[in-house]
Every structure is written in structure tokens, then in C-alpha cells.
Subunit: 307 residues, 2 copies
């Protein structure tokens, strides 16, 4: 049950209506790995970091079963840095700084020890790099999940569409689904995206939950209503990590099990937004997760034996 | 199991990205009554109409058990008229015309035949008129539900807050919940509103579903993902009608049954948006409703027996 996660490992500086941070650890692959590690180990990480990436953060991830054979370390350079500021609604944000640093020369390599992985999570990266990772696999995984963003739709749409033909599941937010498909209705958008390669589409709507589409099936996972969303950074990556972590753990790709996986992803995302950065993902244990999952059951379960 | 519904009965002219109508039948009490009539009869209507309100529309409602003793007819004047245009997202709209007409002199009277009603739905009206209706009741109903809107918060907040102390359940949209409470977080907003009178708060989020709060309990009902929302007019009133219609039918005010009621309200709302005006509410039968309810079960049901 091997899981490969590719994406960024980075520093973030975040400002929200609740406060601001100096440089803290972030990156799509960091959040996804922390989240998935609660469900499945080992996790085979593919990323690139500078010499400034703290050893204790690497140690902490390795203690949770995250392998670094596929993480390139460029000693004399800096890790990718992103800084952003969230608006009051927490669904929109302004990017203040993007320093690519080592990411500018990312040339992902699939170590031999990563071959024959069964699950592949491609975090948000340049689509050609995502494709480069897929193309290095000697055996196709059971499930390839791709995350992406509007930025690549703006500057590399053809590339993105080519990578899309190689994956099983695309994960995007509502605006991105609309941009990619040219359809306003999310149902129509998902149907169109499913003609472009993926058999599954997950549309993330932030505080409004997420939709899973497969053929004519649709499933809706709510977001937990929280008193405060403290920092939404990494919520989508954490969601993805919980989703694929559960699938890798159970090895069950039925639509029913994907429903469970998307609820688990939502539960993990509900934790990560409670504090800055990855802090909550480091603190929580299985009991916390079970308690949270039961809150989701209470939140949406109902009886229909009427009319 | 008597249900009183108060609100407007009116003409609407609607423009959406999918088309536009001439004057068609609308009004909060019209939508609510059509919706509730699928679950409970009779429905004791309180409203005011002009001589121009079509007799065949009155006949159609009466055939569904809607009583008109509390509907004042002002023969020589015109019914309330509203015209609006929806934006592409269907969650925002511009009001083009508001002709109060008979509504300007609405002085709601509770007929003797309406006394001892068990359920009271106060559709969106001037808060002092909603209070006037409550104050005419000799016996307090089991459940009083109040709908309102931002307009009254802008011009009659004190009045609205006074009426709020008299009701059991407030139904508002997310923006209105924020305006009324001064809280951005919907969880905090609901908690604050529950200190202002109502024991229950429903926050409607349009295409993003609805939240039901009661004490520390929270329940989320999704909106059905539709290929197209053709015309959202009356969706909130239809939701309210289905909700209170089910409660009046079952006479069960447990939180569990309120969950079922809010799903039924959501199902009814998912029908009404499929065509202009009340048309779908007139067409559908019990079988259609059961089929739709099962779609809601498929949409949100999941198993958690993992981790």
C-alpha cells in the first residue's frame, strides 16, 4: 500500500484577520503528507527543498513514515517561499510574495524505491512536471490524483490538458472547474472535465464543502461549520492527503469508499484551519479524528421514512 | 394539524440568464403554501391581493386545501408587484421594480377559523405586521417560524428584534444572519441570534445548502447540485413551506424530525428552481418528491467504520 505524494515543500508567511506569522513550514506536499500519515505509512515524498529547510521538520515527517529519497536538497539555495493575505471571507486571498528559489529548477526524479507505488498524489505543480513524474513510473498506479490551480490554466492550459488525460481524479476548486470547463454549472463542469481524462472529479468549495463526481454519481461532503477559520492555508492539500491516505490504507476504490475518503479529507481540513500552518496536523491523534468524524455524521445524517 | 401561513401573494416579473417572464404569480405565501400543501392540508392563508389576482390561481390553491378566509381582496386595486433580474451566479439579484399596491395598506386579520392553529409560518413581511399576526392569536402555536430580510434590518431593526422575541425559529440567509448578529462566523451568528429569542435558527446559503442550529446542535442540509438553476425566485419560501409542512404533518418537533424537515424543504426548493415561478410545485406528485428525497440520501449518506 505505497503512496507517492509529489508537490512543494516550502516556507509560508501568512496574514489572516486573526493574526500573522513569520516564515512557517508549508507547501502542498508537506500538508498532504502530514494529513495522509494519519492513515497510511510509508509515504514516498517527491519535492525539492533548500538548505534552509529545518532538519527538525524533516525529522518530524520521517517519524511519521515520510520517506525523503525523492526529495532533492539544494544545500546552497533557499526553499520556495510564498506569502499571502486572506480577506475576511477566508475564501479569497492576495499573494504578496512568490519566491520560486529552488522550485525554479525542480526536475523531479522517481527513485527506484518509489516504483510500483499503488497510489500517486500529484499536488499543485507545473503540469509538465506532474506529467514528468507519471512518465517515470514503470507500472501505472491504481489511482493517480491531480491537483492544479487557475494559474496553470492561465499560462499552460494545453500542458494541463495533456496531463489531465493521464490521471484518474482531478481535484480543483469551483472557480477552477468553471475556468477549465467553460461551464458555470458545477454539474456540467464536472461532466465536461470527465470527458477530458479523469473518471472522477472533486470540486472543492472551501467553507461550502466539496462535491465528488463519477459518471452519473454525485456525493456531497460538507465542511464542518466552525466558529472561526483561523488560517485556511493548506486546507485543500490536507483534504487531498486525508482522501488519498484513506484510499491507500483501505485499497478500496469503490464509490462508497470514496465517499468515506472525502469525509475524512474534510475532517482533516477542518483541523488544519484551526491554527496556523501544519500545527494541528502534528497535534491530533486517532481519537481526535474519530471524534471529528462523528461530528460529520451528526452534521449530515438524517432519516427519510416519511411522506 | 392546522397550519397558518402569512406573507405576500403577488405578481413577479423575472429575468434570469435563461430567459424572462411577463407577470407571473409569486409572493412568499404563495410559494410556501404550494410547497406545504404537498404535506399537510388545510393551509390557512393570511395575505392581501388586488382584484387582478387570477381566479384560476385562487381555485388551484383552494383545490390543494389552501383556505382564503384570511386573504383580503381589494377589488379595485392591484396586487403587489416585484420585478428582478438575477446575475449569473443566481445568488445575487437586482430589484428592478417594487410596486407595493395593496400591500401598502395590509392590516392582517386573524379570522376566528384560524384560531388554535398549531403551526404558524410568518413569511417575509414588515416585522410589525408579523407581530400583529402573532398578537391576534388567543393560544400560542406549538411553533412560530419567522422569515425576514436585510431590507427590514436596514429600516426597522428595533421592530424586527421585538418580533424576534416572540418566535421559535428564525430563517434567514447567510448575509442576513451576519447583519443581524454582527458576527461573520455563521456558527457565532446563530449562537447570538439564539440569545435574541428564537430557540432555532436556519441559515440558508442558496446553492450551498442550509444550516439548522439549536443549542449546541447543528445540522447541514445540502442543496442538490443541479445542471441549471433556472429561476431561484421563491426558493427560500418553498424551502420554508416544505419544512413547516412536514412538521405540521408529523407534529413532531424533535431535532431529529427537524433534520428530516429541512431535507424536505431543500428537496422542494430543488424542484421550484427548475422552471419559472410556481410551475414545478404544481406539477410534482408524491412519487416525484420521494425520488428526489432519495437523491438527497445518495448525495450525503456515507459510512464511517474506519480509521
Amino acid at each position: 500500500m505505497s503512496l507517492v505524494i509529489a508537490g512543494t515543500m516550502a516556507f509560508d508567511a501568512i496574514e489572516t484577520p486573526f493574526g500573522k506569522t513569520d516564515k512557517i513550514i508549508g507547501g502542498s506536499a508537506t500538508y498532504a503528507a502530514w494529513s495522509a500519515s494519519h492513515f497510511t505509512q510509508p509515504i514516498k515524498q517527491i519535492s525539492i527543498i533548500g538548505g534552509d529547510f529545518p532538519q527538525d521538520e524533516i525529522d518530524a515527517l520521517q517519524n511519521k513514515g515520510v520517506e525523503f529519497d525523492g526529495v532533492e536538497v539544494v544545500k546552497d539555495e533557499k526553499s520556495f517561499f510564498w506569502s499571502g493575505k486572506y480577506h475576511m471571507d477566508m475564501n479569497t486571498r492576495d499573494t504578496l510574495v512568490t519566491d520560486l528559489n529552488v522550485l525554479a529548477k525542480f526536475d523531479p526524479k522517481m527513485p527506484d524505491s518509489y516504483q510500483n507505488c499503488e497510489f500517486l498524489m500529484l499536488g499543485n505543480l507545473m503540469p509538465s512536471l506532474q506529467r514528468q513524474i507519471i512518465n517515470q513510473l514503470k507500472v501505472r498506479p491504481k489511482l493517480i490524483i491531480m491537483d492544479t490551480m487557475n494559474f496553470w490554466m492561465d499560462i499552460a492550459m494545453d500542458d494541463l490538458k495533456e496531463t489531465l488525460t493521464l490521471v484518474d481524479l482531478l481535484m480543483v476548486n469551483d472557480g477552477e472547474a468553471r475556468q477549465l470547463s467553460g461551464e458555470y454549472s458545477l454539474v456540467k463542469a464536472a461532466q465536461k472535465i470527465m470527458t477530458m481524462g479523469p473518471k472522477y472529479v472533486i470540486i472543492k468549495k472551501g467553507e461550502h464543502g466539496a462535491l465528488l463526481f463519477h459518471g452519473k454519481h454525485v456525493f456531497f461532503a460538507p465542511a464542518l461549520p466552525l466558529e472561526d477559520v483561523f488560517d485556511p492555508t493548506g486546507a485543500g492539500d490536507t483534504f487531498a492527503g486525508g482522501f488519498i491516505g484513506h484510499l491507500a490504507h483501505t485499497k478500496d476504490l469503490s464509490f462508497e469508499n470514496m465517499k468515506t475518503a472525502i469525509i475524512i479529507g474534510s475532517a482533516m481540513a477542518s483541523f488544519v484551519v484551526e491554527k496556523f500552518g501544519t500545527q494541528r496536523l502534528k497535534e491530533i491523534n486517532n481519537q481526535d479524528i474519530m471524534t471529528r468524524l462523528n461530528q460529520f455524521v451528526d452534521l449530515v445524517n438524517f432519516d427519510i421514512d416519511i411522506v
